[in-house]
């Protein structure tokens, strides 16, 4: 516990506009601005939090923002840190963190495909799961999946009915 409070004090001292909270036991949430993201992650990596577990994205459509969550953990401590950054929804882009954690490349590729966030500096942002995709990124909250199914899949005719006509 004392080590966690120590960490919180260090972060809030060094970086401005940062808020650190402990919502549950062994969970720490660090909310920052976009510019502080890379220095904070480097600081955490130099402490002992060397493993990037995942990068997730939340679509806050009423506030018009995307929230990117970088989850880092350590092999020696039970603490699980989530670094949350908000970026605007129109023309969303952010720097890549491949220089610090190399395994972020695939997570950023997935978020680019499913949400539409550009990561500057990522060498490979080609699609992973979707084939022949021509609509808006599907995990956004304004994507209507029922309309998409009616447009793409239900419009393809069955083969028997074609044959009966011709």
């Amino acid at each position: 516990m004392r080590m966690n409070k120590e960490l919180k004090r260090k972060i809030e001292e060094i970086y401005k506009d940062t808020r650190v909270e402990f919502p549950e036991r062994n969970r720490m949430v660090v909310k920052t601005k976009k510019e502080n993201l890379l220095p904070i992650l480097e600081f955490l990596k130099s402490e002992e939090f060397r493993q990037l577990k995942a990068i997730s994205c939340v679509d806050w459509i009423e506030e018009g923002e995307f929230e990117l969550i970088y989850q880092v953990a350590s092999l020696n401590s039970p603490l699980h840190i989530m670094v949350k950054v908000r970026i605007g929804r129109e023309n969303a882009q952010i720097e890549t963190i491949i220089k610090i954690f190399e395994n972020a490349q695939v997570y950023e590729r997935e978020i680019h495909e499913l949400f539409g966030v550009k990561f500057k500096g990522n060498p490979n942002l080609s699609p992973l799961f979707l084939e022949n995709w021509q609509s808006i990124p599907p995990f956004r909250k304004d994507f209507d999946t029922r309309e998409y199914v009616k447009e793409v899949f239900d419009k393809i005719p069955r083969v028997e009915s074609e044959n009966e006509k011709s």
Binding site: F129, L130, P138, V149, F153, P157, E162
Partner: protein
């Protein structure tokens, strides 16, 4: 039993052979992968029906589509199906290939697989039990007896329409058509 009647074998060896030794490609699609190993191993033995899993599509004549099919899987299914020698039979398990099933409004799964690959028999369930799979195999035997399992003949006759559906879904395919398509299509 039918398998032991020599007269039928002498009259039509091809049909009897296709009934009593169906070799299945070991290609398992979605959720149904978990139902295939119990069917093949000791408890519900599929080898007494003559059904064994083989490793390559070139040696097989039964293709089982077990569960939901996403777009990437459909590409692999079409390529595998076209490599199998004729005559070949396909059976679809579960409710997802029939009409979309649980993923009826998903953006990445196929709702009616019959538009892209010809299907001979459907089994309802989510997932069907191994006993249902055996009932399907015996029904397939009866269909082969009557000459009603004609999926591959339909594929050959209507290949134009199947290929057009496949191309509309994927926006162009990388492999050439299996049977010659007419040149006077508006392509």
């Amino acid at each position: 039993m039918d398998r032991k009647s020599i007269i039928k074998w002498i009259k039509e060896p091809g049909k009897m052979g296709h009934k009593y030794s169906l070799w299945a490609v070991y290609f398992c699609t979605g959720c149904g992968i978990i139902e295939i190993p119990p069917v093949i191993t000791s408890r519900w033995d599929a080898e007494r029906f003559g059904v064994i899993p083989v490793a390559t599509p070139r040696q097989a004549n039964l293709f089982m589509i077990t569960g939901y099919v996403s777009l990437k899987t459909l590409k692999a299914i079409i390529r595998t199906y076209e490599q199998m020698p004729e005559p070949k039979y396909t059976v679809a398990f579960g409710s997802c290939p029939i009409n979309g099933g649980m993923y009826w409004d998903s953006y990445n799964t196929i709702k009616h697989i019959d538009k892209y690959i010809p299907i001979d028999g459907w089994i309802a369930g989510c997932m069907p039990r191994p006993e249902a799979i055996f009932i399907a195999v015996t029904k397939l035997w009866m269909m082969i007896d009557k000459g009603a399992a004609t999926g591959y003949i339909r594929y050959r006759k209507n290949y134009k329409f199947y290929r057009r559906n496949q191309e509309k879904l994927f926006g162009g395919l990388l492999w050439p058509p299996l049977y010659p398509v007419d040149e006077n299509e508006n392509e």
